[in-house]
Amino acid sequence: MSIKVKNVNYTYAEGTAYEIHALKDINLEIPDGQFIGLIGHTGSGKSTLVQHLNGLVKATSGRIYFNERDIYGENFSMKELRSKVGLVFQYPEHQLFEVDVLSDVCFGPRNLGCSQAEAEKKAREALHMVGLGAEYEKRSPFELSGGQKRRVAIAGVLAMEPQVLILDEPTAGLDPKGRDEILDQIESLQKERGITVVLVSHSMEDVARYVDRIIVMDHGEVRFDGTPKEVFRHYKELEKMGLAAPQMTYLMQGLREKGADVDADATTIEEAADAVEHWLKSK
């Protein structure tokens, strides 16, 4: 289920005074089963890019291949693409519309042609995955809290059982606990089902703990693409882009500057603790 993005450019409102060149010559390859973090400051083109991956926005120029097939080709079914590449929008709670939670989550599978019973089964599973129990099924989505709405909306996409799951800032505006819960659930889902996950965020801290690979965007271009450790080595450049590396990177770099021979690639607190311990022992 690989996705290949080749020389994609995108311009909003082409030919008017409001023209914005939002994507500039993007080249990416997203193989199976990876957990990817897509990072960039506000307006760097993250949302625009992910909307290309399931064909919602058509590139001004360039090609996108899904399983080696050109998605702009003639016989390509966009509907099929959208059933395989699930996209959870930024502030997805704004798209809820049904009378109760269960029916709203059923909307996706029903559109894909599932029977009502089948759709409900998938919807229940999806709700369970995002941590909402059976007691929520019959409640109106509009009387839930912001975080609960967010979960319902994410479940709405999960219920379609996509093979690639893209989440556009799923934790924006959530409290730390809600944020960790949702990210943990996404991680376990990724492990269990072996699906590809693209997590859009502008917090390095969030992403560093979970992902195998980080793609950094800046002004519509891909600046860095690699494992978190590789990317965080460029913490000075990241800072110039208005992004910050995880706090542990700063701590480790600081220690090194003071002459301590610690492993500067540690990004989480646990890794940092190990690295310091290792250094202390080796002294």
Binding site: G15, A17, R82, G86, F89, H94, F97, G108, G156
Partner: protein, 275 residues
């Protein structure tokens, strides 16, 4: 797709038309619209075309951008043309097929009606494209100012109008976003018969209404938080003052209007209404 509606959208550019006082533009638009109904015969429309063409040229808004607003009225335009074309009785029958026939008068009325409608939209588009919604409502408020004595809530009307105008692009953007989000969930807004299509709108309309109410609520709260309490005793940071160019523009516009009336009279006087 949905962003093609240009009515009520500002197009930034540096032109004389952009710099004119909004009152001038409002009055001009009104005069232009009246003049379209005064216009008679090919001469009248020629003068109107020249006037509109010149203004569009001066506004520096790309013509293609301006005509986008016309797409919204294509249906209306077609219906008008078809009705006029086939239903008006005239002296000569130009074309006949079964019970359908086109007469000289029908053709003439259809063409003039179409031109009139198109110019109406273009004329008002020039105004909205070259004037920010804020300026527009400021102008309207000032123009209608005398009505305050009759206890017409002029300020409130102007404020409502400016909010409505401001919200058009926001709601369009929102529609676009919700549509995409539902398409990502497999929704289909394009195929199906009329009933299926209407049903498909529910996942779009419900969130849209909710978001419109939410925004209205937020805005009301934000306005109250800044102590907005209507027009009484409210002063302007940039009060409107006529400049020389505004007076010149008034002269040109009234000149145009007088010319249109002159054309109308002369054509009916000499009865050269060959059209």
């Amino acid at each position: 797709m949905i962003r093609d509606i240009t009515l009520g959208q500002y197009y930034p550019a540096k032109s004389v038309i952009h710099r004119l006082d909004p009152r001038v533009k409002l009055v001009t638009t009104m005069i232009f619209i009246v003049s379209l109904f005064v216009a008679k015969g090919i001469m009248g429309y020629l003068v109107a075309t020249l006037f509109l063409g010149a203004v569009i040229r001066m506004s520096k808004v790309p013509f293609g951008y301006m005509t986008k607003g016309l797409r919204a009225i294509v249906m209306l335009l077609m219906i008008t043309v078809i009705f006029n074309l086939f239903l008006i009785d005239g002296d000569f029958v130009l074309w006949r097929f079964g019970f359908l026939r086109i007469t000289d008068k029908g053709l003439k009325t259809a063409v003039f009606m179409a031109v009139r409608l198109i110019y109406l939209i273009l004329g008002s588009s020039v105004m909205t494209l070259t004037t920010t919604p804020n300026d527009l409502t400021d102008g309207l408020e000032k123009l209608l100012g005398p009505l305050k004595r009759l206890h017409v809530p002029v300020h409130e009307i102007a404020m409502m109008m400016s909010i409505a105008l401001r919200f058009i692009p926001i709601l369009l953007e929102e529609t676009d976003k919700i549509m995409k989000a539902q398409i990502a969930r497999g929704a289909d807004f394009e195929t199906g018969n009329l009933i299926q299509k209407a049903k498909a709108m529910v996942p779009l309309l419900v969130p849209l209404f909710i978001s419109a109410f939410r925004r209205a609520n937020d805005l009301a709260m934000a306005m109250e938080a800044r102590c907005y309490h209507g027009g009484n005793g409210r002063t302007k940071m940039k009060p409107l003052h006529y400049q020389r160019r505004d007076r010149a523009a008034y002269a040109v516009v009234w000149g145009y209007f007088v010319l249109m009336i002159a054309v109308k009279w002369s054509t009916s006087y000499y009865a050269v209404m060959w059209l």
